[in-house]
Structures are given as structure tokens and as C-alpha cells.
């Protein structure tokens, strides 16, 4: 049932424990968030998944150990990482190009998605000509068009202003309902996690451990009518983050 499964994953950098003990799972078509304080090593987890770093513990995908050869993930980094010298169209085909798809075929696959991503008419523009929200949508388009098993989203809206971020969250939720991507989102924005996720793993400060796993009980589509219910979940999570159980003599601020 669960596609991605991590069991007791740990990672230390030069004696500094970054990931204490992480166990989590993501089911097919499920939107899961990892929520934790800044600098808790959330991004390190993605580095382990994409093979950029190696840690201890078990990482399974569809029951098979993850290795560098099995490429299951499409990764969307913090900020958009669009290449300023490539036009938007060529930025979105990047992943396909790396996979060895011919340029023409890659463009043909990407082009029909521009309208859905609100980028129609901007194919020939350079990234610098686009607003922050449009750049993020282009980055997400570049990510999903790779057609990998699972999306890894690393604080994708962290660099946006509050209003744009809210608009992008609504847009992403709506997109997700259509496509049912299996997705793992890293964020430190409680409201964002509650709004987008089916489940949330709340992490502690470094060394990161799973403090609590929370199933978000809100109906989809997520709309403002459930704001009260969402508020209760947000309050619960904030409480966990701000008053963690004292553990192993580690102090929190």
C-alpha cells in the first residue's frame, strides 16, 4: 500500500546528528507533509532520497531498497532553480532532456500543460520576465512532467510573498485533486501543511525525530468553510512544535 517507507533513518554530518531517527511512509496518491522548525534537517532527508547523501537505516520504495539507480523522484528545490538563460519552455523540458527525450518530443509533451499551469503565452519568455508565482508554477511544471513515481517538494513557496503563497497553495491543492500525485512536501508553514496534506509528520528540532503523525481530517476540496476545523488542527500542531516533550536532555527554544 505505502509506496515510500523510511525506517529508522539517521544521518550525521561530521559528528553532528542532523536526523535522529526518522520513520515515515507515503501511500500511493497521498499528499504527505514533513513539518518542522527551520534547520531541523528536513532538506537533508530529501538529499538522502535523491541519492545526494547517504545515511543509515532503511529506505524502501514499493518494498524494494532505494538505490541510486532507481530514480523514483521528481525533485522541486527551494526557490525555483529556473535557469535564467533558458526560455520557460526549455526550462520545463529540462528533466525530459536529461532523461534522453529528444527536444522536439519533450516540447510536444510539455506544451499542452502550459494552459493548466497558467503559463500559456509565456513559453518564449525568460524566467526573469515572470512573477514569483509564475516562476513557481513553471518549476512545478518542470517537476511533474518528468512523470516520476513521486514528487518531492522542498518548501516550494517559501520565497513568495504571503498573498502569492496563499494563491499558490489553493492552486496546488486544486491541481493535486485532479492529478493525485504521490507527494512529499517539506515546509515550516503550519497552515500550508494543514491546507495541503492528507497526513503530516511533525519533526523536532535537530536531531530531527518524528514528534507526532497527524491525519488531517478535513474534507477535500479544501475550502474556507472548514476554516474552524483547520484552525483546531493548526493549533494542535503549533502546540506540539512549541512545547515538545522533553527528550534526552535536549533543550529547545
Amino acid at each position: 500500500m505505502s509506496r515510500l517507507e523510511l525506517r529508522h533513518v539517521r544521518k550525521a554530518f561530521g559528528g553532528l546528528d542532523v536526523l535522529g531517527d526518522i520513520s515515515l511512509s507515503v501511500g500511493a496518491g497521498e499528499f504527505v507533509s514533513i513539518l518542522g522548525p527551520s534547520g531541523a534537517g528536513k532538506s537533508t532527508l530529501f538529499q538522502l532520497l535523491t541519492g545526494a547523501e547517504h545515511g543509515e537505516g532503511e529506505m524502501l520504495f514499493d518494498g524494494m531498497p532505494l538505490d541510486d539507480h532507481g530514480r523514483h523522484f521528481a525533485f522541486m528545490p527551494q526557490r525555483d532553480a529556473l535557469m535564467p538563460w533558458r526560455r520557460i519552455l526549455d526550462n520545463t523540458t529540462l528533466g525530459l532532456e536529461v532523461q534522453g527525450v529528444k527536444r522536439k518530443a519533450a516540447r510536444a509533451r510539455v506544451a499542452p500543460l502550459f494552459a493548466e499551469f497558467g503559463l500559456a503565452g509565456f513559453e518564449r519568455h525568460f524566467p526573469a520576465q515572470l512573477s514569483g508565482g509564475m516562476r513557481q508554477r513553471a518549476a512545478l511544471l518542470r517537476t511533474v512532467v518528468q512523470e516520476r513515481d513521486m514528487l518531492l517538494l522542498d518548501e516550494p513557496f517559501g520565497a513568495l510573498d504571503a498573498l502569492t503563497r496563499a494563491a499558490m497553495q489553493r492552486w496546488l491543492e486544486q491541481m493535486w485533486r485532479h492529478h493525485r500525485w504521490t507527494a512529499l512536501l517539506i515546509t515550516h508553514d503550519v497552515r500550508e501543511a494543514v491546507f495541503l496534506s492528507d497526513r503530516i509528520y511533525v519533526l523536532s528540532a535537530r536531531p530531527a525525530r518524528v514528534l507526532r503523525e497527524i491525519r488531517v481530517p478535513l474534507p477535500r476540496p479544501r475550502d474556507p468553510s472548514a476554516a474552524q476545523q483547520a484552525g483546531a488542527v493548526e493549533a494542535e500542531i503549533l502546540d506540539i512544535l512549541l512545547n515538545p516533550q522533553p527528550s534526552k536532555g535536549h533543550d529547545h527554544d
Binding site: 538529499q47 535523491t50 541519492g51 545526494a52 530514480r71 523522484f73 521528481a74 525533485f75 522541486m76 528545490p77 527551494q78 526557490r79 532553480a81 535557469m83 535564467p84 538563460w85 529540462l94 528533466g95 532532456e97 536529461v98 532523461q99 497558467g118 503565452g121 509565456f122 518564449r124 519568455h125 525568460f126 524566467p127 526573469a128 520576465q129 515572470l130 512573477s131 508565482g133 509564475m134 518528468q146 518531492l152 502569492t164 494563491a167 499558490m168
Partner: protein, 270 residues
């Protein structure tokens, strides 16, 4: 689609407005020089007036052109060699970081060699032909280009590298897709600096010994007590440098369209 660039006449008007202060300051300098040379009683064999320099340059234009050609040739060939070497080495250094620590001290030392001492030696070893000029031009331009390229590769956005790695790109792919284009801005900055060294390097080499060239022309003119012709040759070399500088700027505009177009935002809202 992309908003078109401003119309031609407006572009020229803008160019003129930008160039006006430079033209005026140079003009003022020339006028002051002219007045001083004419009315201070200084001998033209010591300080010729700019009008005389220009007049003599026109009279001797065939000799000047004849001598400028070898200088241009040495500059361009030397610079091309230097570019090729800088590219090859910058890539090696980028792929094998320890090489950097091994090689950079050598290159830094090469930059401390006084040209006055090296130029005659290189001529002594390699004769009066094209070879020593090419080598000296390459020597003075190589290091700035190498440093610019290596720094440019390192300016690649970390997240672009991470993303490409997650996409399954190897080191070579990442280099071609991300590191090389990221270095373009640095490359052109280095190009602008070293192209100005290049002409000077060629003239220095010719000064130390050559059959023909602006350098040897200056030397001969000086020995014949013709400062007007020395200055005429200086003018030619300055013009040459300015043209090469302008060409690199033009090349950058052509090679990096996003730097120009990207400045005009087109996206609206969200």
C-alpha cells in the same frame, strides 16, 4: 509576445547621450593639449600638438596600417590560443579540484613576471617571428580568463545542481547544462579585461624585437626623434583596443539575450 527593443533612432539617441560625457572630456583634454603645445613655446620634437600628430598620422597612414596588421594578427592569434588553453584548463580544474591547488600558484607566479624582462628573453628564444608575440599575448591574458571561468563555474546556483543530480544527470551533463552557462557573465567580464591587456602585450613583444609591428614602429619613431609618430602609433593601438573592447560587448549582447530581455518584466500578477 516579447516586447520589441526600442526603435533604432531612439537607440542611437540613447547611445549618444551615454557617450557624450566621454567625448566631451576627451575633447577638452585635446583642446588643452593643443593650446599648450602652440602657445607655451615647447618644441614639437618634445611635445607635438594633437593636430600635428593627426596630420602626421594621415601622411604616414600606409606605414601605420602596414605595421598595425602584424600587431592585430599577433593579438588575435595569441588571444585565441590563450582562450583555448584557459577553457581546457578551467574544465580540468573544475573536474579535478586538487589540480587547482597544484596549478594556481604557478599561474600566479607567471603573472608577477615583469614583461620588460620577459619580452626580450622570449624574443631571444623564439626569434623575431610571430611566435614570441603570440606567447606574450597568451601569457598576459591567460590567467584572467582562467580565473574568470573557474569562478564562473562555481557561481552555479547550488539548487540547480541538486535538481539536475536528482534528475539523473552526471557530472558532464551538469557541467554542460548548468556550470558552463552560469559562467558566461564571468567569462565576458574576464574577456573585457584581458582583451585590453592583449594589445599591450603584443606591442611589448614587438618593442623587444620584430621586423614589423606597432611596437617596433614606436621604437624606431622614438629613435628618430619623432614623438608625433610615436603618439600616432599610440592612437592606433588605443583605437584597436577600443574596437576589440566594443566587439566583446557586442558579442556578449548576442550571446546572452536573456540579460537584455529579462530586464523587461512581462508577467502580470500572482
Amino acid at each position: 509576445m516579447v516586447s520589441s527593443s526600442p526603435s533604432r533612432p531612439r537607440q542611437f539617441a540613447g547611445l549618444f547621450a551615454k557617450a557624450a560625457p566621454a567625448v566631451m572630456s576627451v575633447g577638452l583634454l585635446l583642446v588643452a593639449w593643443e593650446l599648450y603645445a602652440n602657445y607655451s613655446g615647447i618644441k614639437p620634437t618634445i611635445l607635438p600638438a594633437p593636430s600635428r600628430v593627426f596630420e602626421q598620422a594621415m601622411l604616414n597612414r600606409e606605414a601605420l596600417i602596414d605595421n598595425a596588421i602584424p600587431t592585430i594578427r599577433a593579438t588575435l592569434i595569441g588571444f585565441a590560443c590563450s582562450l583555448g588553453a584557459a577553457f581546457a584548463l578551467s574544465m580540468l580544474v573544475d573536474f579535478f579540484q586538487p589540480l587547482r591547488r597544484a596549478l594556481f600558484p604557478v599561474f600566479i607566479v607567471s603573472q608577477t613576471l615583469p614583461l620588460v624582462a620577459i619580452a626580450p628573453l622570449v624574443v631571444l628564444w623564439f626569434g623575431f617571428g610571430l611566435m614570441p608575440k603570440v606567447m606574450l599575448v597568451a601569457l598576459v591574458t591567460f590567467f584572467p580568463m582562467l580565473v574568470a571561468l573557474v569562478q564562473g563555474y562555481e557561481a552555479t546556483e547550488v539548487e540547480i545542481g541538486q535538481m539536475l543530480r536528482a534528475m539523473g544527470a552526471g557530472r558532464w551533463r551538469i557541467f554542460m547544462l548548468a556550470r558552463l552557462p552560469s559562467a558566461l557573465l564571468y567569462f565576458f567580464a574576464g574577456l573585457r579585461i584581458s582583451i585590453t591587456y592583449a594589445v599591450v602585450g603584443a606591442i611589448f613583444a614587438e618593442y623587444a624585437g620584430a621586423a614589423k609591428g606597432l611596437g617596433i614602429y614606436m621604437l624606431n619613431a622614438k629613435n628618430n626623434f619623432r614623438p608625433d609618430l610615436v603618439l600616432a602609433a599610440v592612437g592606433v593601438s588605443a583605437a584597436l583596443t577600443l574596437i576589440l573592447f566594443g566587439l566583446t560587448a557586442l558579442l556578449q549582447r548576442l550571446a546572452m539575450p536573456w540579460e537584455r530581455i529579462g530586464r523587461q518584466p512581462a508577467g502580470q500578477g500572482r
